[in-house]
């Protein structure tokens, strides 16, 4: 059928701004929040959210990355993946509210892996999940707390998130 653009640059910015507001609203401020992006594009989104939230709240919101490769349950079914870097902000995660940030939520298996990864680093008081695109087809009892866009899709369709920092352009496309 071809490729169709579902979010443009302005849509992505609006979605991230709204999610950032929602996170602050539900947490009643930014105190104790740590944003952790899941590589590769989740990290970029987390960094953008940190900028937006810092602007709103007037204090810097710590941001880092959490690699989940070594915790995946599907390693033996794919060519060998190279792990990405994990960078935890200086204050750690103990007793904080960690907001996991990823670009697409699909089966939920990356998020399951990220919960295991987080456990080996420390014990947050709460973990929340922010997602740019939720395309359904969950295989595990996992749901996002903050969603940029719900995108009903067929299982065999492919959703691509491109971000300026990595791909030179901001857009979300669906390919069928």
């Amino acid at each position: 059928m071809g490729t169709r653009t579902v979010l443009h640059e302005a849509d992505i910015t609006r979605a991230l701004t709204r999610i950032s507001h929602e996170v602050i609203e539900s947490h009643r401020g930014v105190d104790g929040i740590v944003l952790l992006g899941i590589p590769t594009r989740g990290v970029t989104l987390a960094k953008r959210m940190s900028v937006i939230m810092s602007d709103i709240a007037g204090v810097a919101v710590p941001v880092g990355s959490l690699d989940v490769t070594l915790f995946r349950d599907d390693l033996a079914r794919q060519p060998t993946r190279s792990p990405g870097p994990t960078e935890i902000p200086a204050g750690g995660v103990d007793g904080r509210t960690v907001v996991l940030v990823d670009d697409v939520l699909f089966s939920g298996r990356s998020i399951r892996a990220s919960l295991d990864a987080l456990q080996s680093i420390g014990r947050p008081s709460a973990v929340r999940l922010a997602i740019l695109v939720d395309r359904g087809h969950r295989e595990l009892p996992i749901r996002p707390d903050f969603v940029g866009k719900n995108l009903p899709s067929a299982r065999e369709e492919r959703v691509h998130v491109r971000l300026a920092e990595i791909d030179g352009v901001d857009e979300v496309t669906i390919e069928s």
Binding site: L70, F71, A76, Q78, D116, S120, R155
Partner: protein, 322 residues
């Protein structure tokens, strides 16, 4: 990657991939919980026909940190002392269900025989074979040099322009051979310093500069000075008059240590003969990377086991992804 048998045939791309994954593995070792679930359900056999402390412990720690099951096999006290052949031992391991075999053997080429014979389907890691190679040692040495030189900025970098001087018993050293090939692949400049009797005859074919005078080599201000162990157990002839003479001419004594320029690191693959090739002052100085090498060894071996075992393997039966 199917096996890791040597560094001579290791491409620059594969070497950098191992070193970069080792960076990630190294990061996980500073966490509250060091154990990763990555290789759960895999079995790693340590097959050691020669004595080893640090290499075996290092491989065992690496496999356990990745949640693999580890079976340690030492030739002493096994059926090998009753005359069992390498083939029968290998087929026994196959029947047990080994996914990877880490092998150390006194005969050069034994790991390759194991990998190419068809006796086993497991991945083979060479943990030292005769006087041939010891690839994970060279990888951890390269990792250590890179880490000391570039710090947190190490990922993705090679060792272009870095000058490494390797001193001592090159003739019997598989560590030296593996290091020469790997360092050359990564762009480093290697100088060998040894008495002529302890250099192999074909050294002119290697991508190295040969020097016989340690003081001249030190005056050239290398970035890393790697002292090799004098392997008395492999020396069946007189290669130098006596230990005192060797130590005076090719040992890193406190006087030579003082001549080293500011940033030069002192490396030793261990086990050290203190007072022979390296003085206690040098081994315990802040320049010494000996303990870093041991710690980095675990991370590098985790990376090798990960790259060998984690992905799908050719020939694996594959179920539907969903």
């Amino acid at each position: 990657m199917r096996h890791l048998l040597d560094t001579q045939s290791l491409s620059r791309e594969d070497a950098l991939r191992i070193l970069d994954v080792a960076e990630d593995m190294s990061d996980t070792q500073s966490r509250e919980i060091k154990k990763l679930p990555t290789l759960r359900g895999k079995t790693v056999v340590n097959l050691f026909f020669e004595d080893s402390t640090r290499t075996r412990i290092s491989f065992e720690a690496a496999a356990k940190r990745l949640s693999a099951d580890v079976i340690n096999f030492a030739a002493k006290g096994s059926s090998v002392s009753k005359g069992e052949s390498l083939q029968d031992t290998a087929q026994t391991l196959q029947a047990i269900g080994a996914d990877a075999v880490v092998v150390r053997h006194g005969a050069s080429g034994a790991p390759r025989t194991l990998a190419t014979s068809g006796w086993i389907s497991a991945g083979v890691v060479n943990a030292g074979d005769g006087t041939h190679e010891h690839p994970t040692q060279a990888l951890l040495d390269a990792f250590t040099i890179r880490k000391r030189t570039f710090g947190a900025d190490s990922r993705g970098r090679d060792l272009a322009g870095i000058r490494v001087t390797v001193v001592g018993d090159v003739l019997h050293s598989r560590v030296a051979r593996s290091n020469v090939w790997l360092l050359h692949t990564l762009g480093a400049e290697v100088t060998l310093v040894a008495p002529p009797t302890l250099l192999p005859q074909n050294v002119s074919m290697w991508p190295v500069t040969v020097e016989y005078d340690l003081d001249r080599a030190i005056a050239a201000a290398p970035d890393a000075l790697m002292m090799l162990r004098i392997q008395s157990e492999r020396m069946h002839a007189a290669y130098f008059p006596n230990e005192r003479e060797y130590s005076r001419r090719w040992g890193l004594d406190p006087e030579r240590l003082a001549q080293l320029p500011g940033a030069t690191m002192v490396m030793h693959p261990g086990p050290m003969n203190r007072g022979l090739e390296i003085s206690a002052a040098a081994a315990d100085s802040p320049r010494s990377t000996v303990l870093e090498q041991v710690a980095n060894g675990v991370a590098v071996r985790m990376a090798v086991l990960y790259l060998l075992l984690a992905g799908e393997r050719p020939g694996d039966e594959r179920e539907d992804l969903s």
